[in-house]
């Protein structure tokens, strides 16, 4: 029994990371109405920036701050210089331009750091495990759960409690209406895209000590993020949270029952949700 409890808690830990990975994709879709295939590339950049900074002798904590800011800035520039010019084109081309971008980022990473991955050390403060009676749990994973929970609350506040948040929510209903009200829609687009990129990079930094950094983690993460937003419902903050935790727990529990099949099961879960609730658990229609 306790192994399932442990795996469930593990799953929540993975799930919170998954939430962080998927929420940016979801918000960007909600506002800009297109799926960012380069989202995994931002996650990849986050992990590698963390790897590089820690190799230079900076602490993990600096990486946790700098990498998301840097990747957010890259995302901001990407939106301004690249994506802005495809909004008027058919939606396939929105996707294809980000597919091209993801390919460029992946190849640049291989060019800079080589095709093989490397591990990233867990910060000293968080090495070892917490013992609580018979319950043993790695400190770092506990930190990830707590940290992402705080971030989730913060993000929720930004979306629900600030002017930017209301503009974003209004924009995802109707961008025309928002611009008629005199708000600079393009400015909001850039900011939201930057925010999405930064959250993906943050997920990458947090994942790096757990799974290392390797060039093809981006596409893997993208596949998982798609599953989460399809399960939870695209464009929905709570959908990303519920979907992320659900998928994390499914993957974690399945990994004790059927280790080889754990990765397959999350896709099976997705197909099941989709057949029963086509718009996801918490998604809106249309």
């Amino acid at each position: 029994m306790s192994i399932y409890l442990l795996q469930t808690i593990n799953g929540i830990g993975i799930g919170m990371l998954y939430f962080l990975l998927a929420v940016g994709l979801s918000i960007v879709f909600g506002l800009l109405r297109f799926v960012n295939f380069a989202h995994g590339a931002f996650y990849l950049m986050g992990a590698y920036f963390c790897y590089q900074l820690t190799r230079w002798g900076w602490s993990f904590w600096w990486a946790l701050l700098i990498a998301p800011l840097a990747v957010g800035a890259i995302g901001w520039l990407t939106e301004k210089l690249l994506l802005r010019h495809v909004y008027a084109k058919p939606h396939e081309f929105h996707i294809l331009v980000t597919v091209g971008l993801a390919l460029v980022v992946q190849e640049l990473v291989i060019l800079q750091w080589g095709p093989l991955g490397d591990s990233v050390a867990t910060p000293e403060l968080l090495q070892g495990v917490v013992m609580w009676g018979s319950f043993v749990y790695p400190k770092y994973r506990l930190f990830v759960i707590g940290f992402t929970a705080v971030l989730a609350v913060l993000l929720w506040w930004v979306l629900e409690g600030t002017r930017l948040g209301s503009a974003v929510r209004a924009g995802s209903e109707s961008t025309e209406m928002v611009s008629l009200l005199g708000l600079n829609v393009f400015g909001i687009f850039s900011l939201v895209f930057a925010l999405g990129a930064a959250t993906a990079a943050l997920a990458g930094v947090l994942a790096a000590p757990i799974r290392g950094a390797e060039p093809f983690m981006g596409i893997e993460a993208l596949g998982v993020a798609f599953v989460i937003v399809v399960v939870g419902g695209l464009g929905s903050f709570s959908g990303a949270l519920v979907g992320g935790i659900l998928i994390g727990v499914v993957q974690s529990v399945m990994s004790t029952l059927w280790p080889e099949g754990a990765r397959i099961m999350i896709y099976v879960a997705m197909a099941a949700v989709l057949l029963l609730r086509p718009h996801g658990l918490l998604g809106r229609k249309g």
Binding site: H91, G100, E107, F226, Y267, L275, P278
Partner: protein
């Protein structure tokens, strides 16, 4: 004009490649990926479906033929048919679920399925060889009742076989695109609501397009496995799906010959650049972005524009009499 001229052009490409190229394997590769890109084009260019699941069908084709040729003493043409059938069956399953969603959800679903297929292939080493893939796939000659009709041992012999299948597939796909079914797909691509309002069963149409696309892609996967002698796990990866899409988009959508052009561009550029610079895919990413930004009809569209420009300029000075006849009825 176009039906026969396109088939003739395809024939001309098939005949021309041995004259200009040194490697039969490379020429075969061009046609094999052209098949896969045409399958993708049927979905993207004719039906408006951007599918990241093409690698599934490609992988299914290559695994099927590898298993049949190495483990069962099945005649090669039957094994090839089985690979086509598996591609079609895989497309039917993926399509059945994915086309319940439209637009962005649909695209994400196809990618999720591609990832799922990859992990399934990875977790079943007994069937797929796992990480190593399936090795030592034979390339038996085309024979009927013991009489060898066409040996496939040398690369150029194999090219002849691939070329024949390519032309048949091209002809069939053109028939499909020119049929009432093909025209209906275009109506779906241009306006789904209108097509549905007129009374077409969108799901059935899309599923049929998917199955045809899967069959062609499965054939491509099988031919690729026979050419290289291996069915690697990488044939089932996201990268394969991406590659097929990139070829299709760079060539230009909505025109089958454009897919041949896209595949040739990708394969030949890759063959030339990969020895010079292993990270040549970076350039390809840039090309994909450029095409998405400003060249949405792909290389084919670029060629047409240039051709149109050249034709408009040329008749003026030397032969003014040619201009009205080119305009036909309008003059």
């Amino acid at each position: 004009m176009s039906r026969h001229s396109h088939l003739l052009l395809a024939l001309a490409i098939v005949v021309a490649m041995p004259l200009f190229m040194h490697s039969g394997s490379l020429a075969s590769e061009v046609l094999i990926y052209a098949l896969a890109a045409m399958g993708c084009n049927l979905l993207l260019g004719y039906t408006g479906l951007l599918s990241f699941g093409q690698g599934i069908f490609f992988g299914l084709g290559s695994y099927t033929i590898a298993l049949l040729l190495t483990r069962w003493p099945l005649p090669m043409p039957l094994a090839l048919l089985a690979a086509i059938a598996m591609g079609a069956a895989g497309a039917a399953v993926v399509g059945w679920i994915a086309i319940r969603q439209r637009g962005t959800y649909f695209v994400m679903l196809t990618l999720a399925f591609a990832q799922m297929f990859y992990f399934i292939a990875y977790s079943l080493p007994g069937l797929t060889g796992g990480d190593n893939g399936l090795l030592d796939i034979p390339r038996p000659s085309l024979a009927i009742a013991g009489h060898t009709l066409w040996p496939l041992a040398s690369p150029w012999q194999y090219y002849g076989f691939v070329a024949a299948l390519f032309l048949v597939a091209f002809w069939l796909l053109r028939r499909v695109c020119d049929s009432v079914f093909g025209r209906t797909l275009l109506a779906v691509r241009d306006n789904e609501e209108r097509a549905a309002a007129v009374g077409y069963d969108l799901r059935l149409l899309k599923l049929q397009a998917f199955v045809i696309s899967g069959a062609v892609t499965g054939l491509a996967g099988a031919l690729h496995a026979m050419m290289t002698g291996i069915a690697p796990l990488s044939n089932a990866e996201y990268h394969t799906s991406e590659m097929i899409i990139v070829m299709t988009v760079i060539g230009g959508t909505g025109n089958l010959l454009a897919s041949v052009l896209g595949a040739a561009f990708y394969v030949l550029l890759g063959d030339w650049l990969s020895t010079l610079w292993p990270r040549w895919l970076l350039l390809l990413g840039v090309v994909l972005m450029v095409v998405s930004l400003g060249l949405q009809r792909g290389l084919w569209g670029l060629g047409e524009s240039l051709w149109g420009l050249a034709r408009r300029k040329r008749p003026a000075p030397p032969a003014p009499a040619a201009a009205p006849s080119a305009n036909g009825g309008q003059a």
